[in-house]
């Protein structure tokens, strides 16, 4: 079971990496070509250096060869600059593709996609996790391709000068898959271990910093500081063990590369001195030797660079896996949106038990009735499940038990009243842009209609006034309007949508008493023909309620029996 899942995850991950890197295909192709040309430019440099040395020793003029060398260097530099530029673009294209995939899935599946984790974590998944993909398209794929193409180009050039030097290089290249595998697995493991340990350390630090007040009350600052230090040191030691191994692998690769270059150098050196003891069937001139020697490091450069890119691949694979599993999860059920109701229904909750994660209940066996044309206030302390009851109507959490009836008809756990609902939270959303933008997002209406509604909810006193307001630009989160005005804006939206069910979640949490009274009056004004449910522990709302449901008196706990004797 687990193995199948693992296989499937791997397939998903590969698929995701392919899909998201696809938009950067053109750039990746260009980078590969440019890198190959850069290798050719290096060959040009090697040849010109050989020619320079030869010419100088022969007492000839070397200017032409020198200029050729300088040109090669300049061309190579230019190629690398352009290829780096494309590599940044490729990386960004991949990140952008992944982000778009998330947003498209969000558009497709709706809000249920983000359930299950805090909004902070979701934001960091969308922005930070996707950013980890950058190195895959920017460096890993081009690096991998160049580690195949680059050495081949160089070794051909070496063969034209000295077959022994070429053979020496080829001999070592046969071992590179082993190097790659060695360094690859080790570096990836090291990167992961380091990432994990840093995250764990951050976590340990975070919970302690978050609970600083509590730790202070228990006079435990000193103790917890020591505990934190110990935990960090232990993690450091663990990371070091893995890192040491990974560095050793890199060192071995470097060592072999050095040995191989040294062998080429020694062969050329002794050959030139005329002291090489074996017949190799070639007479080596200084020019040929110099060329072969300058080419040798470039032969290993792409392979060495690749070994330093494994963390790019590791990071990207981990991120892709995480994102793909999230986006492709089959547990995300988009609720069925029932057709819009014409008038406010009678809502009946019958022993409803709800849960955010599907196992631990947040509301147990709650029964209540919300009547048409009334404002029903659900009160109770924070955490008693007021919000959950509202969300149940949107099928935004798991209903474990119980029935909800809408005008007598059952509402299945995966059916949502979203089409008929206006849902308002304590800090209503507003987008950057004009008030008009904020209203037309909900419903496309003429300016006249919008102005009427603005006057209706008391945001403006006259048509002119309302027109000015329509054009007023709001900052992020509705900056430019007071808390009370923002709530009025949400009522305006609810009116524009003509929603028969109004759900409010702690609407007065950020309002002063006067604004709160105004909001209540506004709700009273419009409640006829609608069903209004307010989750609030504010006294003013409780007093104004037509029906008050107090959750703290509703929920019987199972372990009561054993306490009644005390």
């Amino acid at each position: 079971m687990n193995k199948i899942n693992n296989k499937e995850y791997k397939k998903l991950t590969r698929q995701a990496l392919n899909d998201w890197s696809a938009p950067a295909k053109r750039e990746i192709g260009l980078i590969t070509g440019l890198n190959a040309l850069a290798s050719v430019a290096w060959i040009g440099l090697a040849f010109s250096l050989g020619m320079v040395v030869e010419a100088l020793l022969a007492g000839q003029d070397a200017t032409l060869a020198l200029v050729l060398g300088a040109v090669c260097v300049a061309v190579r530099a230019g190629l690398i600059v352009v290829s780096d530029r494309f590599s940044i673009i490729a990386g960004h294209k991949m990140v952008s593709a992944a982000r778009r995939a998330v947003f498209e899935t969000l558009t497709d599946k709706g809000a249920p996609l983000i359930f299950g984790r805090s909004s902070g974590e979701r934001v960091s998944e969308i922005i930070d996790r996707t950013a980890k993909l950058e190195g895959y398209a920017a460096r890993w794929i081009p690096g991998m391709r160049h580690s195949l193409v680059g050495p081949i180009i160089i070794v051909i050039a070496v063969f034209t000068q000295s077959w022994v030097a070429g053979a020496l290089l080829l001999l070592t290249v046969c071992m590179t898959p082993v190097f790659l595998w060695l360094t690859g697995t080790a570096t990836a493991a090291a990167a992961r271990a380091q990432q994990d340990s840093l995250e764990a350390l951050s976590g340990a630090f975070e919970t302690r910093a978050a609970n600083a007040g509590l730790i202070k009350v228990f006079r435990a600052i000193g103790r917890e500081t020591v505990a934190l230090q110990d935990a960090a040191e232990e993690l450091a030691a663990r990371t070091m063990r893995v890192l040491r191994y990974a560095f050793l692998n890199t060192a071995v690769l470097e060592f072999f590369a050095s040995i191989s270059i040294a062998m080429v150098a020694v062969y050329i050196g002794f050959k030139l001195l005329g002291e090489f003891p074996f017949q190799t069937g070639e007479t080596l001139t200084l020019k040929e030797g110099m060329i072969a020697l300058v080419l040798a490091p470039e032969f290993f450069a792409p392979i060495r660079r690749l070994s330093s890119l494994h963390h790019d691949r590791g990071d990207a694979t981990a991120a892709a896996e995480h994102l793909a599993i999230w986006l492709k999860a089959e547990t995300i059920k988009t609720p069925e949106r029932l057709a819009k109701l014409r008038t406010g229904p009678e809502l009946v909750f019958d022993r409803v038990t709800l849960s955010y994660d599907g196992t631990v209940p947040c509301v147990s066996a709650v029964s209540l009735t919300a009547m048409h044309g009334e404002m029903t206030v659900i009160s109770g302390p924070s955490g008693s499940g007021k919000t959950s009851l509202l969300l149940a109507l949107l099928a935004a959490l798991h209903r474990l038990e119980g029935d909800i009836k809408v005008d007598g008809r059952g509402l299945a756990p995966d059916q949502s009243l979203a089409e008929s609902v206006s849902f308002v939270r304590q800090s209503p959303w507003a987008v950057e842009g004009s008030v008009r933008d904020n209203l037309t997002l909900v419903s496309k209406e003429t300016d006249e209609a919008l102005c009427d509604v603005l006057i209706d909810v008391g945001l403006a006193t006259s048509q002119d006034d309302a027109r000015d307001l329509l054009d007023r630009d709001l900052g992020r989160g509705g900056q430019g309007l007071s808390g009370g005005q923002r709530q009025r804006l949400t009522i305006a939206r609810a009116l524009l949508r003509d929603a028969p069910v109004w759900l409010f979640d702690e609407p007065s949490a950020h309002l002063d008493p006067e604004a709160e009274q105004n909001l209540i009056a506004l709700i009273q004004k419009y409640k006829a023909g609608r069903t209004v449910l307010v989750a609030s522990h504010s006294r003013a709302f409780k007093r104004a309620a037509d029906t008050l449901i107090d959750l703290s008196r509703l929920t019987p706990r199972q372990n009561d029996e054993e306490m009644t004797d005390a």
Binding site: I114, I215, R223, V266, S382, S384
Partner: protein, 547 residues
């Protein structure tokens, strides 16, 4: 960076010095290897061509090449190992110290806002990366450049001066200028990044509302576009750096050209020139690392400066430097015209008046926002006294060591919070040598013995506040039991009965009353609703506060 390091008390000095030394060796040996090889090969060729192969002493140079090759590999390896060891160690020190200072400077039990927390963690990571990715590479490059200039000096003084100047410009001046220029744009970039992030956060936080009204697609598209814009701007910021690699390579070509042009035609001079050319090539190649380092330097520098400020933030609670006392008498606790400020820039709340003695119960009620929780936090010295008087046992709060007072005071916050660990760890936070009997008694008083079973080994089970089978109300009672462990003289309870059914609430009230009466203790309770319990054994007083 250095300031931050001295804040920490200059730890791990030897390790840091060693890795710096190894960095120098690694940087120098890379250049030395190529320079010596170039000279050696050219010399062998010259001698070989002249038929003098046997007279050329190739043992010293070739062993020098071997030594440089080995030295480079080995010093790189140890530099990485020691550098990482130093960094990981420093980060352990840094986190511990930061936590300690942070804890001393916080107000109340509210945790850091998540944005501040994540920027703090970003800062820590930027500083950690600083040593490894900024300082060590810069040192290695400088060592390599100096050595390369030395090689060129053997060939020609003039070339050496030119080469050194070119290296200085390419490896230092240009990257620094590019960094400076991009920093100006970087600030706007950071702002845009922040605002795109906020936009996504708003989208996610309001996803349900937006889904309901059908605005999710439009706003998703908007967010995607903002994030793309930020990526595009980042490309603009990085552009000046891109050219640096090209400039470095082109300059190295010109310098090599110059070296050969200025060299004599004698065989020795040609050999030296070849060595110098290759050394310069290696130095310029290594200077590519400088670009990244100089780019990252201001960022980790700014992070280090922020953390330095954070470490030197003065504690909000002023207290004398005397040692904590063993036995303390805190009653009566008196507040007169007391004003508090729940957040550093928040509004002033008050005035509050209180008079608390042993064997008493004070019920505090009032509208939300009136500062009930802030008042409780002030009573256990988590909030500074802004104005007015707060005395314990006749001594002003400011004249007490907080540690002395907290032996006798404990707080049960409204929202219980726990550290990761076992259930037992939670109690050990309050008292490190707590016994099972003490825990059992506390659980009983807190009405938590019905669902925590010591005999079933519940204490040893992993306990994480967010992943536990205990309900919110149960967690609250565990948090109460933990506060009881310290046997405080004064217990502050923030909404202890919220969410409890009336019967459990009354049972809990009775047990708390017995506990207080039997130990001459005082209870202070924030309570919204009446639970229908008559407190007959304690001196009851009711305090309504207004914002």
């Amino acid at each position: 960076m250095l300031k931050l390091w001295s804040d920490l008390g200059r730890p791990r000095q030897n390790l840091i010095l060693f890795s710096v030394g190894l960095s120098v060796i690694a940087g120098a040996s890379g250049v030395f290897l190529l320079g010596l090889s170039g000279w050696f090969l050219t010399s062998t060729a010259i001698f070989g061509a002249a038929g003098l192969g046997l007279s050329f002493n190739h043992f010293y140079p070739s062993s020098g090449i071997r030594a440089a090759a080995f030295g480079r590999v080995i010093s790189r390896y140890f530099e990485q190992v020691l550098g990482h060891q130093a960094t990981l160690g420093l980060s352990a020190d840094l986190r511990a110290k930061l936590f300690e200072r942070q804890a001393k400077a916080t107000r109340g039990t509210q945790s850091l806002p998540s944005a501040e927390m994540s920027s703090l963690i970003d800062d820590i990571e930027a500083v950690e990366a600083g040593f490894l990715r900024v300082y060590l590479p810069i040192i290695a490059v400088i060592a390599g450049c100096v050595l390369a200039a030395g090689f060129v000096l053997l060939s020609s003084l003039f070339s050496a001066i030119i080469a050194f100047a070119a290296l200085l410009i390419v490896a230092w001046y240009l990257p620094a200028r590019a960094a400076k220029r991009s920093r100006a744009i970087a600030e706007t970039l950071t702002n845009n990044q922040e605002s795109a992030r906020n936009q996504v956060a708003q989208l996610i936080e309001n996803a349900i509302e937006l889904d309901v009204v059908g605005a999710l697609p439009a706003l998703s598209e908007q967010s995607a576009r903002s994030l793309d814009d930020v990526l595009e701007q980042r490309r603009t910021v990085e552009r000046p750096f891109l050219w640096l690699g090209g400039v470095a390579a082109a300059t190295s070509g010109c310098v090599i050209l110059l070296i050969f042009l200025l060299a004599d035609n004698s065989p020795e001079a040609v050999a030296l020139a070849a060595g110098a050319a290759l050394a310069v090539l290696a130095a310029f190649d290594a200077s590519g690392a400088m670009v990244k380092a100089i780019d990252a330097a201001p960022r980790s520098g700014a992070s280090a400066a922020r953390l330095h400020d954070r470490l030197n933030r003065t504690s909000t609670i002023q207290q004398p430097l005397t040692k904590a006392e063993k036995q303390v008498e805190i009653f009566p606790v008196i507040a007169q015209d007391l004003y508090l400020r729940p957040a550093e820039n928040g509004p002033l709340l008050g005035p509050y008046d209180l008079n608390i003695s042993a064997n008493s119960l004070t019920v505090i009620s009032g509208p939300s926002g009136a500062g009930k929780t802030t008042l409780l936090e002030a009573l256990c010295r988590l909030q500074p006294v802004e104005k007015g008087l707060l005395t314990y046992g006749g001594r002003a709060a400011q004249d007490w060591r907080t540690a002395s007072l907290l032996q006798a005071i404990s707080l049960v916050p409204q929202i219980p919070s726990f550290l990761d660990g076992t259930l037992r760890d939670q109690f050990e936070l309050a008292k490190p040598d707590v016994s099972d009997d003490e825990i059992l008694n506390a659980l009983r008083t807190a009405c938590a013995d019905g669902f925590v079973h010591l005999e079933a080994g519940d204490l040893g089970k992993a306990f994480q506040a967010f992943q536990t089978h205990y309900s919110g109300g149960e967690l609250r009672r565990i948090s109460l039991a933990r506060a009881l462990i310290t046997q405080p003289q004064m217990l502050l309870l923030d909404e202890p009965f919220a969410g409890l059914d009336p019967i459990t609430a009354r049972t809990l009230a009775r047990r708390l009353e017995d506990w207080a009466k039997n130990g001459d203790r005082a209870l202070i309770i924030i309570q919204h609703e009446d639970i229908g319990y008559t407190w007959s054994d304690l001196n009851y007083s009711n305090k309504t506060i207004r914002g």
